[in-house]
């Protein structure tokens, strides 16, 4: 049966299903429908967003075991911990040995296309970035901010290189399936990855072996749902993850846990888990 319509559309966000299809040796341009819901971003809760209610009885494909434990603590079940798609890509795509890292790639914390905007003083943030990193800076904007001329202009006029990894995609439309490929490539080109909040990008950077920094005005996130703003907890849990320079090994160790980098499932088994084989 063609299960395309049965798949949760968030499985395609950032090309996650595509990356996993590549790992499994399948057509990465047209990944088969995934049975279950893949966690689509790093989170300090149960693996899923405030508005995302994974269906009962279907696999919740979480990145890390701690997400499973948090989910089970609130009565959810059916977790299968598979690790993050970015970790699969990082393990699968060899780095270019000729490439030398330089400069900093900076990820201003982003809002979402669906619900939440980030509100703050971008110019003040730019000044702080320049003070710490100098001029060799690439600012990577999320497509929501990248397509907002007001926000984008701040960064372009700063003289920094400004890029965007592409669209997340919505309801299987507009997904840039190479989103993570571009992100991995950029992170491997830069010496340092930084942001004003602890986020997926910071952990991705740490996983690639880059130096990391988390500093600057975290800005406001006024529409965030109750219980889904982790800033106060992050400072309590991982105080060492905040600052202009952070212990690289400690950051990488945390990234490996949070991104499930040591939990990657071998291809034949992952195909079975994702419902890409019979039986």
């Amino acid at each position: 049966m063609d299960r395309l319509t049965a798949m949760d559309s968030s499985n395609h966000w950032y090309g996650h299903a595509h990356v996993l299809a590549r790992w499994c040796g399948l057509d990465e341009e047209n990944p088969p429908p995934v049975e279950g819901v893949i966690q689509h971003g790093w989170t300090f809760v149960h693996g899923f967003g405030a508005a995302h209610k994974p269906p009962a009885g279907r696999p919740k494909l979480a990145w890390s075991d701690v997400c499973r434990r948090r989910g089970e603590a609130i009565g959810w079940s059916d977790y299968v911990v598979i690790g993050s798609p970015f970790a699969y890509l990082e393990a699968h795509v060899e780095p270019d040995p000729e490439q030398e890292r330089h400069g900093t790639i900076w990820y201003p914390f982003h809002g979402t296309a669906d619900f939440e905007n980030v509100v703050g003083d971008h110019q003040r943030l730019i000044d702080e970035i320049r003070d710490v990193e100098g001029d060799d800076v690439t600012v990577c904007l999320y497509y929501v901010e990248y397509e907002d001329p007001t926000v984008r202009r701040f960064y372009e006029e700063s003289g920094f290189r400004v890029i965007c990894h592409g669209h997340r995609g919505t309801l299987w439309e507009g997904t840039d399936r190479l989103f993570l490929h571009k992100q991995l490539g950029e992170m491997r080109r830069h010496k340092k990855v930084a942001s004003n909040r602890l986020s997926s990008a910071v952990l991705y950077g740490a996983l690639t072996g880059a130096e990391v920094g988390v500093y600057g005005d975290p800005m406001d996130f006024p529409a965030v749902k109750d219980g889904f703003n982790g800033e106060p907890l992050f400072h309590a849990w991982w105080p060492y993850m905040f600052g202009e320079t952070i212990d690289r090994e400690a950051a990488e160790a945390l990234a490996r846990i949070e991104l499930g980098a040591d939990l990657l499932v071998p291809p034949e088994e992952l195909k079975h888990i994702l419902g890409w084989t019979n039986g």
Binding site: G57, R58, K60, V80, H272, G279
Partner: protein
């Protein structure tokens, strides 16, 4: 409960004082436990077997003895044994009553606890008194064996039946609840029978494992005890308790009972003996400290949802048994210890000769899936996974890939509906059965949701079999029927 029975019996059955019209000791159902291989070398001369004993065992003992006498308390049991063994002399009643007819036996075997010997027609006597009544039937220096039930054994403390509250035959006996003379520890048993040798037994009054508490290797003893005590249905989990008890060095406290022997011409030399499908196997493995039953470790890894560790466990196990000659791959007959990141397996029994390594590994995986699912142990698979899919996931981890759903259903044993001294239809078991059914319902619900979405998509596209309402209805009917028939 037993109904009133006709007072008819074969000619070789003699009713004596205490014969009970309303009692049957034969277990329901009778399990395949056969100890004659071990008992026959001990038997000689005039031999008395006290208490209900399987007729296969009695027949073998009868062939080795000059005369076989059997004493049971219920007329139904006596009649059945008398009919099955015409050469035997079967007595029905109180052991004290037998002294008027026969005594001074050369061999006396009482393989049931004496609480199953005293008839309800007799006045109440203590455990000690009845034990002495039985042993008084032996001549001086006779070969004797008497099994003593541990009232705090694993079978008792995990049972949800309350013998003080229940009124079924299995839960009531004439002395159990008020007897103070019963020994409750191995030391007390040794003190109660000076000069005798006591072995420990597992798992219940139909014990299938005998061990020497002194010579049995602790790790091997723990492994075989856990295997013997896997209850066929749910309830308080004996394996969990025994596993923890073994780690605490307290395994011996939970034995089901003690087999007390005296003057055996062929003493039990091996540290352990296990009854395996009609034959007795000697077990003398010496295992390093820290070795644990493989199926227990597997159950713990899946319960903690540690998929990478389960993968390493299954891969190492599969690699060990990829070639023949390493013993059986069955996880309940394997022990394991962790070495670095890996697992090292030791088989406790030879492999069946008629199976390929591949078939044996599949059967072992099917067995472990059945073990976990039938007991509703926590595991790492989502609710929509069928048992076959769980099996295939393990097959992939093992590097032996997958099997068809039909083959999977052959490999995975279904939940047994018999009990062997452990609880059967108790409340936790029923709740667990409901949980299992809920998982199945969730699976079907998921599949139906998928089918529903597909129908909606086809309907929206106005294509395929849904062009007309009748075709649509037939399509839905086929889909639902197909799902329900899985």
């Amino acid at each position: 409960m037993v109904s009133i029975v006709k007072l008819e019996h074969p000619e070789n059955v003699t009713l004596i004082g205490g014969a009970s019209q309303y009692w049957i000791d034969k277990p329901k159902p009778e399990l395949d436990v056969e100890w004659s291989q071990l008992l026959v070398p001990q038997v000689s001369g005039r031999t008395l077997v006290v208490g209900w004993t399987p007729t296969t065992t009695l027949r073998m003992i009868g062939e080795a003895a000059d005369e076989l006498h059997v004493l049971v308390r219920g007329i139904v049991d006596a009649s059945e044994i008398g009919a099955a063994l015409p050469e035997a002399k079967v007595w029905c009643g109180d052991p004290r009553g037998l002294t008027q007819y026969a005594s001074d036996f050369d061999t006396v075997l009482c393989l049931s606890d004496v609480s199953r010997v005293l008839p309800l027609e007799s006045e109440t006597r203590t455990w000690r008194q009845v034990a002495d009544d039985v042993l008084a039937l032996a001549r001086e220096g006779a070969t004797t064996a008497m099994w003593v039930e541990n009232d705090l054994g694993i079978h008792r403390i995990t049972s949800t039946h309350n013998p003080r509250a229940e009124r079924s035959d299995d839960d009531w006996d004439v002395m159990r609840t008020f007897d103070e003379s019963r020994p409750l520890t191995l030391d007390a048993v040794n003190a109660a029978f000076p000069g005798a040798t006591a072995y420990v037994t597992w798992p219940s009054h139909q014990w299938s494992l005998i061990a020497n508490a002194v010579t049995a290797n602790p790790a091997a003893h723990a492994a075989f005890a856990a295997r013997a005590c896997v209850a066929p249905l749910l309830g308080p989990d004996p394996v969990y308790i025994l596993s923890t008890a073994a780690r605490a060095g307290r395994l011996l406290e939970y034995v089901s009972g003690w087999l007390v022997t005296e003057n055996w011409p062929t003493p039990l030399e091996a540290p352990m003996y296990s009854s395996e499908q009609g034959r007795v196997v000697e077990i003398s493995q010496e295992l390093p400290e820290g070795t644990r039953p493989a199926f227990v470790v597997f159950a713990e890894l899946t319960a903690s949802q540690n998929m990478p560790a389960v993968r390493r466990f299954v891969a190492d196990w599969s690699a060990t048994y990829a070639e023949p000659g390493k013993g059986t791959a069955a996880l309940p007959l394997n022990v394991v210890r962790e070495e670095g990141e890996g697992y090292v397996f030791t088989s406790l029994a030879p492999a069946p000769e008629d199976k390929s390594a591949n078939d044996e590994r599949w059967e072992a995986l099917g067995e472990i899936v059945g073990l976990i699912r039938n007991r509703n142990w926590r595991h790492l698979w989502p609710a929509n996974y069928t048992d076959a899919r769980v099996l295939n996931h393990l097959g992939i981890m093992a590097g032996i890939h997958t099997v068809s759903p039909a083959r999977a259903s052959q490999l995975i044993p279904s939940a047994p509906d018999v009990h062997s001294g452990f609880s059967s239809l108790d409340v936790p078991s029923l709740v667990a059965a409901i949980d299992r059914n809920n998982e199945t319902i969730n699976t079907l619900r998921s599949e139906l949701a998928l089918a529903k979405n597909e129908i909606t998509r086809l309907k929206d596209a106005n294509a395929g079999p849904l062009r007309t309402p009748m075709k649509g209805a037939r399509f839905v009917k086929r889909q639902v029927k197909g799902l329900l028939s899985r």
